[in-house]
Amino acid sequence: MKNIHLTYRHKNILLSAAAVIIACIFLFPLYWIVVNSFKLDSEIFAKTPTLWPENFTLKAYKDQLGSLSVTMKNSVIIAVGSMLLSLCLSVPAAYGLARYKVRGMKLFVLIFLITQMLPASLVLTPLFLIFSKLGILNSYWAPILSTATISIPFIVLMLRPGFLSMPKELEDAAKIDGCNALTSFFRIAIPISKPTVITAACFSFVFAWNDLAYSMTFNTKEVMRPMTSAIYTFMNQYGTKWNSIMAYGVLLILPSCIIFVTMQKHIVEGMTSGSVKG
């Protein structure tokens, strides 16, 4: 008995060590972003790159605090708005496609597939025309509506397999208990697939949070622009300000990192919980 316990511990240490090494190599670019955000330009352009800043400086961060409050607020509004909108539309759609024998099911799946086939840069003009007709340029609606088009098909296709593998007996049992379609969707399907729905929510948040093209094109006014737009300010005719870009990169991922790392626990625990196994 003791023996088994020991091997498990050894294995645990071994695996953890391997995981740390993998993470170190894999996340090196991330480390590089963080480290360079603390360097001065002269050190960044030195012939031999330094692994640790010789002159540690917070200049790159201080430079951007001024505009941060407005752009961050915009980013939050756009990302949360887009996330809510996409969840409201895509989770039911994924559920419907998985649980109901609908005529034209394949057609619908095809629609979700093909509507994510053109990169944002190639749909800017026609989308601009739509938003111009709707009169929602220079408002939060334009980036919210446009970024939702990225997440909706993505979430539908991502969630559908999950709903497919959900045991139907659960819902059948619920029906006998008097649940109708809507209540069984909210009371059974959503709780069971909570982890996947949370994952989907995180994805759509990140998609909208990282959007640059849509917000730049549809909102020409600075007061409406999200954090990502500041990247442009550091890539102007005065050159790429590497340390500022890196610092901004760090600031940009901090919120989504925090959300994701905390949610990750939810996701994994939810996934391994018993309900799916039935």
């Binding site: 894999f26 609908v102 629609i111 086939m117 053109l118 026609p126 790392v261």
Partner: protein, 299 residues
């Protein structure tokens, strides 16, 4: 009679769930797609962009781009790039998913960290890789030279092949966690007792992998591959920022070339035609995907 009625009810309920999202997508993306097709058959250049009555030119724009050497290269590059990325990110993503599915202390935490690379804005990723791949003061050359793997610094983004490799590496860095996450979800959905039963029957690890994991994971694998293909095939920002399609046209892909045709050279018709070629390629992939899902339907 009864069952017929029930089927109808099922239909209506199903549509109730599905249709809002479909209408949304058709409105906001269906129109741009239709718009692109429309102008790809018209003579749209700088001079005619503003006018309402543009000449219908049939397939002239398509003929023009297919005669264009850069376009043909871009088409090839797009496939090379996509296949390269898919191979790397799917295999490594799968390995990572399997690895972190093992239960050890740090598994969840580190898996969470790895996902960060996927959450970075692509512009930042592209810039940091451009920076790391620089010839004279890039960290990658510095490391490789310190390890004596190379003697001379490599101009990664200065030659066609290495520039493409650089792009594939950068994109895979973003794609691996994405693949890993989706495959993890799939792995977790496989009931554990199946493995237990197999173990009792004396199945080896490899057998379990090929007889249980792969078949049960097939729907997930299919959607991961198809989504990965679509997302990689249409990549724009990463290439645009990291190499701008260069040097010369060595890393030009369909999306960047279409954008250049439209917004830099003002051949809007040809730009739309190039975008539609991209669209058609992905459409064919989607049809293949649809064929496979019908077999997997549980219901």
């Amino acid at each position: 009679m009864q069952s017929n009625k029930r089927e109808k009810r099922e239909q209506i309920l199903g549509y109730f769930f599905i249709v809002p999202a479909v209408i949304y997508m058709l409105t906001f993306i269906g129109y741009p797609i239709a718009y692109n097709w429309m102008i790809s058959f018209q003579d749209v250049t700088a001079k005619t962009l503003g006018s309402a009555a543009r000449d219908f030119v049939g397939f002239d724009n398509y003929k023009l781009i297919f005669m264009d050497l850069t376009f043909r290269k871009a088409l090839l590059h797009t496939f090379v790039y996509t296949v390269g990325c898919l191979i790397i990110q799917f295999s490594l993503g799968f390995l990572f998913a399997m690895f972190f599915a093992k239960k050890f202390t740090l598994s969840k935490a580190i898996r969470g960290f790895i996902v960060i690379s996927w959450m970075l804005p692509v512009t930042v990723t592209a810039l940091v890789f451009k920076f790391m791949f620089a010839e004279s003061n890039g960290i990658i050359n510095a490391i490789l030279m310190n390890l004596h793997i190379i003697e001379q610094p490599i101009g990664w983004l200065l030659q066609g092949n290495t520039a493409m490799l650089g792009l594939i590496i950068a994109n895979s860095w973003v794609g691996i966690p994405f693949n890993m996450l989706l495959l993890t979800t799939g792995l977790n959905n496989i009931p554990g007792d199946i493995y237990e039963a197999a173990s009792i029957d004396g199945a080896s690890g490899t057998q379990k992998f090929f007889k249980i994991t792969i078949p049960l994971l097939k729907p997930t694998i299919m959607s991961v591959l198809v989504l990965g293909f679509v997302l990689t095939f249409k990549v724009f920002d990463l290439v645009y920022v990291m190499t701008g399609g260069g040097p010369v046209d060595a890393t030009e892909v369909l999306s960047t070339y279409s954008y250049k045709l439209s917004f830099q050279l003002f051949h809007f018709g040809e730009g739309a035609a190039a975008a539609n070629v991209l669209f058609v390629c992905l459409f064919l992939v989607a049809l293949v995907y649809l064929k496979t899902i019908s077999k997997d339907e549980v219901i």
